[in-house]
């Protein structure tokens, strides 16, 4: 079980998350997919920090920061979606097209 396994796992989770971001219509579900992507990146970083000698603690520290920012971003995103929901009582992304041609 070497680094490659973790890397492939990370890549797979990233792609799954990407699919979720691109293919979902509910704003909330998009947010969840973004969380999946961020976690995939974290796995990659931590795997590197564990296996490679040259970057011992950097990976974990960056992963901590990513978690921090992800949490903050969830809070903000929630606020936005709340606002959206309040104004038109649906979180459908198809309705948010004011910047249309």
């Amino acid at each position: 079980m070497s680094l490659i396994h973790f890397q492939i796992l990370s890549a797979a989770m990233f792609s799954i998350g990407l699919y979720g971001v691109l293919a979902r219509r509910n704003a909330l579900l998009v947010l969840l997919s973004i969380e999946i992507m961020l976690n995939a990146v974290n796995i990659n970083l931590v795997a590197f920090s564990s296996y490679a000698e040259s970057a011992q603690d950097v990976g974990q520290i960056i992963a901590i920061f990513i978690i921090t920012v992800a949490a903050a971003e969830v809070g903000l995103a929630m606020a936005i979606i709340l606002r959206l929901f309040r104004d038109r009582s649906s979180v459908d992304l198809d309705d948010v097209d004011l910047m249309k041609w």
């Binding site: 998009v30 992304l93 948010v96 910047m99 249309k100 041609w101």
Partner: protein
């Protein structure tokens, strides 16, 4: 030609360039200050002209004592080639210098009276000065580049003066026609000069002569460049078929016709051939072409002159015919004879044109010869000098024209072509005939009632006439020589002195032709023994052809319409469709249309944009993976 000595102690050579410079100075002063000067500054122009004549006398004097020379200064450099401004003073340029200054001074004097009361009096004299300056530069220049510059300037002045009364539509059209027709020749001249430069490496005329005589120039190149240069001469000297501009140029003021289109500008072509004679004579084919063109011109236009009814038009066609004689003589290796005829023709023709102006002035603008007649009763001085000019050109001895025409015939006969000789004799007969026609219809005959109040012209106009008439009578004597001065053949010659000798056959022939023409004219036009109208009816087809000038103008117009205008139409359509609609407007429209289509890309939905980002990432990745390693 004599070998020229580069004698820099010769002051005449060093100051000869002042003559054209005075003309330029006069032009500048008149253009800038003519509104503030009395009489719009015409006296400046005349003074400069007389001063130029004075310079000619000085140069002549110094030439006779210490010979000629060249004088040049450096002009500009392009890379390793350097170009000079320079003058040659030899017999040819001296003769032309004197001719131009004398005739120009006389014409300007005449113009004071003729152009009196015209609004653009000062501008007229300004362009006159410029013309004189450029003509002098043309005859004095020692390199082809300067000559070409002066050539073009002379053309410009001709354009300005023909179209002097530019409010008149016909005058503007005539000026345009003159410029465009001579342009056709000028293109040939330019290409010929450049070819010659490429072959010999220099513009300087004397250096070109050296290069050609050393045999360093390929004969095909030489022949083609000389033919092209002759094309330029054809345009300027109104040889057939580029003669069409000269009759129309009569729209300009009559003194202009006298100076430019009789005595000086139109002989520029003849002068050019004479100047480059050493290299023209090395190519047999060119000489033959020159003489053929000259003969054709002489013969055809003499016929037209016979049926024209406008006085100036008759004189114009006569000029073309005599220019043809000069070219023909040059083509037959008759250098001295051609130049001799040039001199006598210049005096006589200028005289005739000025008389036409005097007649128009005195009879309240009558120009049709059918409305003239018996003018000797009312305008004696003009009639007398007019007759002198007519006799001179017809070749009546002992006037100048007889000697020069005699020389011309001798030269052609010496060249050996009997066909040419006989055709020239016929042309000479025709020229005598139309001169006689003018004499009997204008000077003699009953006085028409409309001309009852005709009056003689003022002194300022008749004095030049008398001066020119004097020369028309006595200039012929320079042929055989008189009172210790040697004949013209002793000092103005090519290759070896040409002694004036009398060929009995030719003398009798030219006498017969000259006097016979007058007798014939007397019979037809004065006594009416053979009615002119009956003859024109009998040969009606020929008469029509002559009256319509062989329909050449119509042919040219059709050529322009089908070729030039069609091409212009094509270019216009191309410009409109391809350049304007497709390229310029099309570019704008395509941007607009692409924007119109591409705007649907902005759906406003976030996930669409996210897909775009992801695809961008993918493409960058693919690019990095596949393309970058192969670079």
């Amino acid at each position: 030609m004599d070998p020229i000595s580069e004698n820099l102690n010769n002051t005449g050579v060093q100051i000869a360039w002042v003559a054209p410079a005075l003309g330029v100075l006069s032009f500048t002063l008149l253009v800038l200050f003519r509104k503030y000067l009395p009489q719009q500054g015409s006296f400046i122009s005349i003074a400069s002209m007389l001063a130029s004549f004075g310079i000619f006398c000085y140069v002549l004097n110094s030439f006779m004592s210490s010979g000629g020379g060249v004088f040049s200064v450096e002009w500009f450099n392009i890379g390793t080639h350097s170009f000079t401004l320079g003058i040659i003073v030899d017999e040819l340029s001296l003769v032309m210098l004197g001719l131009v200054t004398f005739v120009a001074a006389n014409v300007q004097l005449f113009s004071i009276g003729y152009m009196k009361g015209d609004d653009s009096f000062g501008w007229y004299f300004a362009v006159h000065s410029l013309f004189a300056a450029s003509m002098l530069m043309l005859v004095l220049s020692d390199n082809l580049l300067l000559l070409y510059m002066a050539w073009e300037l002379v053309g410009v002045c001709s354009y300005l003066l023909i179209g002097f009364w530019y409010e008149k539509r016909s005058a503007a059209e005539a000026a345009k026609k003159a410029f465009v027709t001579t342009r056709i020749g000028d293109i040939g001249l330019l290409i010929g000069i450049l070819l010659l430069y490429k072959a010999t490496g220099t513009f300087n005329i004397l250096d070109i002569f050296h290069a050609v005589s050393n045999g360093g120039v390929d004969s095909t190149i030489l022949t083609s460049s000389l033919l092209l240069i002759f094309l330029g001469a054809m345009g300027k000297s109104a040889q057939f078929p580029l003669h069409v501009w000269l009759p129309d140029a009569m729209e300009g003021p009559t003194p202009v016709s006298a100076l430019i289109h009789a005595a000086t500008m139109v002989v520029a072509g003849v002068f050019l051939v004479a100047r480059l004679f050493p290299i023209f004579t090395t190519t047999e084919s060119t000489m033959f072409i020159i003489s053929t063109v000259g003969l054709t011109t002489a013969l055809l236009t003499a016929g037209i002159a016979l049926v024209m009814t406008d006085l100036k038009r008759v004189l114009a066609y006569s000029t073309i015919s005599h220019l043809g004689f000069m070219m023909l003589t040059l083509g037959s290796f008759g250098y001295t004879a051609a130049l001799f005829h040039l001199i006598t023709h210049a005096f006589a023709k200028a005289l005739l044109f000025l008389c036409a102006g005097s007649i128009a002035h005195g009879t309240n603008d009558v120009r049709d010869i059918r409305q003239m007649g018996g003018l000797w009763r009312r305008m004696p001085v003009t009639s007398v000098v007019f007759s002198i000019g007519l006799f001179a050109l017809a070749g009546i001895p002992p006037l100048s024209g007889f000697f020069s025409k005699d020389e011309v015939l001798v030269a052609i006969l010496d060249n050996g072509n009997l066909l040419f000789f006989s055709l020239t004799v016929i042309a000479a007969l025709l020229s005598s005939l139309y001169m006689a026609r003018l004499f009997f219809l204008v000077v003699l005959g009953p006085l028409k009632t409309e001309n009852e109040h005709a009056h003689e012209s003022p002194l300022v106009m008749t004095v030049p006439l008398i001066l020119l008439a004097f020369l028309s009578i006595f200039a012929g004597l320079i042929g055989p020589g008189f009172a210790g001065y040697s004949g013209i053949g002793d000092w103005l010659f090519f290759d070896k002195p040409h002694h004036y000798h009398i060929n009995i056959l030719v003398v009798t022939l030219s006498l017969f032709v000259g006097i016979g023409g007058f007798v014939l004219g007397w019979m037809i036009y004065y006594r009416g023994i053979y009615s002119a109208s009956l003859i024109s009816q009998k040969f009606s087809r020929l008469h029509n052809l002559l009256e319509n000038k062989y329909y050449i103008d119509e042919f040219y117009q059709k050529l322009i319409d089908t070729v030039a205008l069609a091409f212009a139409r094509f270019l216009a359509t191309f410009d409109r469709i391809v350049i304007n609609d497709a390229a310029v407007n099309g570019t704008g429209r395509s941007v607009f249309l692409s924007g119109w289509r591409l705007r649907y890309l902005e759906t406003g939905k976030v996930y669409n944009y996210a897909l775009g980002m992801a695809l961008g990432l993918v493409s960058i990745g693919l690019f990095w993976w596949f393309v970058v390693p192969s670079i």
